[in-house]
């Protein structure tokens, strides 16, 4: 039940605080947001720095959004991009005392993983 509430709050927060960015990014490949895991999927023809900055905008919105405080919260963020014969997935799952903190850590971890993936197949 707590998870459902959290999910609803994430949706509400994203819609209200960052509706434009969220809608924009929905077009660009966000496939799902489920449970308390925030899953973001991008399908990029080629990994480009400007795409990464757009992703960062989304991640920042999640991180700064006022998520409810719990004793312990786990957030998983997954990013993926396809580049020709490769599909790279960067994923991070973080547990912190607040969801806000967990989201910020997971966002940075997923981004680091995706950037590393982009470098090794460049």
């Amino acid at each position: 039940m707590k998870r459902l509430v959290l999910l609803a709050l994430i949706f509400i927060s994203l819609s209200s605080v960052a509706s434009e960015s969220y809608q924009d990014l929905m077009l660009k490949g966000i496939t799902s947001i489920k449970k308390d895991d925030v899953k973001i999927s991008f399908n990029l023809g080629k990994f480009q720095e400007e795409d990464m900055s757009k992703i960062e905008v989304m991640l920042d919105k999640i991180a700064v959004t006022d998520l409810p405080t719990e004793n312990s919260c786990t957030i998983t963020i997954t990013l993926e991009f396809s580049m020709g014969i490769f599909k790279a997935t960067g994923s991070a799952s973080a547990t912190a005392t607040t969801c806000k903190e967990a989201a910020a850590i997971a966002a940075k971890g997923a981004k680091e993983a995706l950037v590393a993936a982009s470098w090794v197949i460049k």
Binding site: S41, I85, F86, A88, T97, E101, A113
Partner: protein, 254 residues
């Protein structure tokens, strides 16, 4: 001849030179790939490329390379799917039909590799279904290959036991082949017989490793990157817990 000798000295293999060669065929394929596709119902957005199979009596060459031919621009759609991909030799395969093996050039983790693989190592099951592709009557065949289920349509009207990428071994040329999730799709674009124009190959022969070693290096490379990724994530996490991973999906599932 001088050019061929120089090429061999450098560890490059050349294939029947420029110009028209009798007993040869050049087959163009459209190659669509979208490894992010979740189901057949999803659109096959992704990237589209042109591949060429050049077959001579004892050898063949398959290439998808921006230097060979133009790469088609995907249809305009919303989102980030439009990026045109210009990769240097996405796929390059030299098949030695006489010796029943092939050299595959492939991008590994951080480096390009060349490895030896068995020729046409697909265990096909030929079905009774038929279909016409272009003017050719085709039969259906299916196989399981490196983690994916494939369907091929081949024509005995072109009695060449070959096909795009690593596919072949059927009693006719493969004109179309795709996996069950339609993430990978090769379809006939053109046939030219005999091959004229670009019928050349330059593929590394001295740095060739086994496929097993290539896979091992690929997995080791991912492990190393993941150690780095986890270390970076730990730095950002402070006293909190974090698990960060990076993974790659490829056409062949190792």
């Amino acid at each position: 001849m001088k050019i061929i000798l120089v090429g061999m000295t450098l560890g490059l293999l050349s294939f029947h030179g420029n110009g028209q060669t009798t007993n040869s065929i050049k087959v163009g394929y459209t190659f669509k790939i979208n490894l992010s596709r979740k189901s057949i119902a999803d659109s096959l957005e992704g990237t589209t490329h042109i591949g060429y199979l050049m077959v001579a009596p004892n050898e063949s060459f398959f290439v998808i390379d921006s230097k060979y031919e133009e790469i088609e621009k995907p249809s305009a759609t919303a989102g980030l799917n439009n990026s045109v991909i210009i990769l240097d030799s996405m796929q390059k395969i030299y098949k030695n039909i006489k010796e029943n093996n092939m050299i595959c050039e492939e991008q590994g983790i951080g480096a390009k590799y060349w490895y030896m693989d068995s020729l046409h190592n697909q265990q096909w099951t030929i079905g009774s279904e038929t279909r016409t592709i272009g003017t050719y009557e085709c039969k259906k065949a299916t196989c399981s290959y490196w983690g994916r289920e494939y369907t091929a349509w081949f024509s005995t009207e072109i009695p060449i036991s070959n096909g795009p990428w690593k596919f072949g071994g059927l009693p006719g040329l493969i004109l179309e082949v795709y996996d069950s999730e339609r993430k990978i799709f090769y379809s006939l674009k053109s046939i030219q017989q005999p091959c004229v124009g670009k019928c050349t190959i330059a593929i590394e022969t001295k740095k060739v490793i086994s496929k097993q070693l290539f896979i091992a290096k690929f997995k080791q490379g991912i492990e190393k990157v993941n150690i780095y990724v986890q270390a970076q994530a730990n730095q950002n996490a402070g006293a909190n817990k974090v698990k960060a991973t990076m993974k790659f999906d490829t056409i062949e599932i190792y």
